[in-house]
Symmetry: C2
Subunit: 414 residues, 2 copies
């Protein structure tokens, strides 16, 4: 599979047609998706657009409205549901010339009940969730680009489990209009691709912000904060190994690796993610819960049974704690250029019954900070294990720039 | 028409049935709506619910999703469109026992092209917009409660023009899930009713926050800030007269009326409303603009033609200015208990071609502060003229408490 940038370059040069690039994706999907089950629905034909992403076949998570493809939300309640309009992100894709390759499988309403998708590295392991289809389709090389959403860890986690690069940009950088809400203060659109370089290229094209297609950062003298998210249970040893490996690579390239424990306020903020999401999810899925509770999958049903007991006072307190946390995060992250931490608690779970654990992603989603992961290594079970970069709110370009430098080191060291 | 609180009291006492209260609304709608044109669609029958709002027939603006009534957005593009799920606010109404009386007319996508609704006081005058049907139906006494939305001045302005009470609560107090977005940082749900007392009662019932059903404030020693929104063009003399009249009433009742000019940062924030809304509306209506531009009404079409020229840098700057403005507003409003200012620039326009002007509402929508208006007096053309209370973000209960005290003075002075 050609990279997003390479497709763009060749199409612009006239080396290949946008149609030919799409046919390449189409034939890979035809060949592999029967097993992988990354797609929920697909158009009759992939028609090329015009713009910087012409020829780029992009998967769109199936909680995102599309005017010409059904939007099933991963749930029988929305089976065959056909929205009237495209979501804003779909319009942004089309405006940039990308072609919607299809809707990608999601866990029901982007919660924890597994999607049918398989991990491309091991069909018995979880692809993660909730953006399972987007991560698997990109990691398997079916498509060069896909859109996911993250409320806890639903972009970074499946990407890390499947071995894709992914960015969850700063909150609201990508507009969520037309995305089925789960928790409106948390829901964030993200991108998956083969590399940080592609993420920057695509994000710039989708936002009309050319600075997001950032040049590779110099690691010489870069202050790389190393954080272990002490407020959460420790990960598997392979994740610690990955963290040390990337820190060592960066250090050898001239970066100052500085251990940074999280301020106490962030441990409070980490806990506030729960009641905040609980209250908002109860509202977002109020119709489904009241009218179709029995059709909800078991984890989501049990979750909502509990979540609806959240009180306004608990929600308000969670918002206050989150607000304080954002102020503290801003200052704390300002002490370094970028933070490196765990992306996930381990390799993908060795089961299709779990989508894994978002404990190393939730805080950053709540803080609204940009997060990025690129593939690094394999763990003891042969599955991808990686790390996560975190930057200050709005510093998406910087995170991309550093990720590009690190991924060059990773390739060189391989 | 009985008040919301009186319906609730009588239903709870067994003096009337919830069904009888609904029949009362239904027959008023049947009698008057042919002329008033407040409703876009209505259910076959009004079925009573259970809860504090049992027997309360509530109008719901037609940009708010309903699972069993079409949602036309005031536009031919969505004619007959039937959403799958109820919006969160509709679920909140149902959970509180209210009955959806119907969908109320809205300007197309809540912008400035007039809805077909008439002003109940003068069929040749504007009812305002964008929540025209909600304001007119409540002001005409067809229903005791209605839901609107405000992005500029679309709750307070039509209420002031039609002579209804209305509250635009703090941003995000009422969840906008399932409401067609126009500008996501601004869009705020609001309530219309006959009095501040009813607004507090209904808002408490819809949010499970009993403190919003606030007791009447004591005016003795209350610090009432008087502000003329100097950053905007002066209103018609009747609006200044209304402001002085309510200040005099409050002063006679023991309040300290303190003139408060707005800090310079708020004049900047006032101007930032434009580019912020422009950028977000371009995204929110991207599909409609790209696919159905010719079907958009002329003001919205011309607006989007211009709005799409907004750059990311202009949007980012508007967000920064708004953030600074919110900090300044918080401190500035903290110097008084509540602010009183103009609700609208005059009586309702003497034309059906304009929905009037939101210049005295836009800043507060951007600041996210609670705003409330109650009927006060008539202007030279015999149409309602009133004032607006503004409180600190989150101080909705205080605004309601003061409004209740003021409306008692207004009734006593009448």
């Amino acid at each position: 599979m050609l990279s997003v940038r390479e497709i763009a370059r060749r199409v612009a040069n006239g080396e290949i047609s946008a149609q030919a690039a799409l046919v390449e994706s189409e034939s890979r999907i035809e060949a592999r998706d029967g097993e992988l089950r990354a797609f929920a629905s697909r158009p009759q034909a992939l028609v090329p657009g015009e713009g910087p992403l012409a020829g780029v076949a992009c998967g769109v998570k199936d909680i995102i409205d599309t005017a010409d493809l059904p939007t099933g939300m991963g749930s029988s309640i929305y089976e065959g549901w056909q929205p009237r309009a495209d979501a804003a992100i779909v319009m942004a894709l089309k405006a940039a010339g990308a072609t919607i390759a299809g809707k990608t499988q999601t866990t029901a309403f982007a919660f924890l009940d597994p999607a049918p998708t398989r991990n491309p590295h091991d069909p018995t392991a979880s692809p993660g969730g909730s953006s399972a289809g987007s991560a698997a389709a990109v990691a398997a090389g079916l498509i060069p680009l896909a859109i996911g959403t993250q409320t806890g860890g639903s972009v970074i986690r499946p990407a890390a489990y499947c071995g894709a690069a992914a960015i969850k940009p700063s909150y609201d950088l990508l507009p969520t209009v037309g995305v089925k809400p789960y928790s409106r203060s948390l829901d964030t659109l993200g991108l998956m691709a083969a590399s940080a370089d592609d993420l920057g290229f695509a994000l710039a094209a989708l936002t009309a912000r050319p600075e997001l297609d950032a040049a590779e950062a110099s690691l010489e003298g870069l202050r790389l904060g190393l954080n272990r998210q002490e407020f959460a249970e420790a990960p598997e040893p392979a994740c610690e190994e990955a963290l040390q490996r990337i820190a060592a690579l960066a250090g050898q390239a001239g970066a100052s690796v500085i251990e940074r424990a999280a301020p106490a306020e962030l441990a409070d903020a980490y806990k506030a993610h729960g009641p905040l999401q609980d209250w908002e999810a109860t509202q977002a899925l109020g119709w489904e819960y009241a009218n179709h509770r029995d059709a909800l999958p078991p984890k989501l049903r049990a979750y909502l049974d509990q979540a609806r007991l959240t009180t306004p006072a608990q929600y308000d307190e969670a918002r206050r704690v989150a607000r304080r946390g954002r102020h503290v995060t801003e200052a704390w992250l300002g002490e370094v250029d970028v933070l490196v931490t765990y992306a996930a608690p381990g390799e993908a779970p060795a089961t299709l019954a779990s989508t894994g654990d978002s404990r190393f992603n939730r805080l950053w989603t709540l803080m609204g900070t940009p997060c990025l992961t690129v593939p690094l290594m394999r763990g003891p079970r042969g599955l991808p294990v990686s790390f996560q970069l975190v930057g200050r709110f709005g510093a998406d370009a910087q995170v991309i720039a550093v990720a590009k430098a690190l991924e060059r080191l990773i390739v060189a060291a391989a």
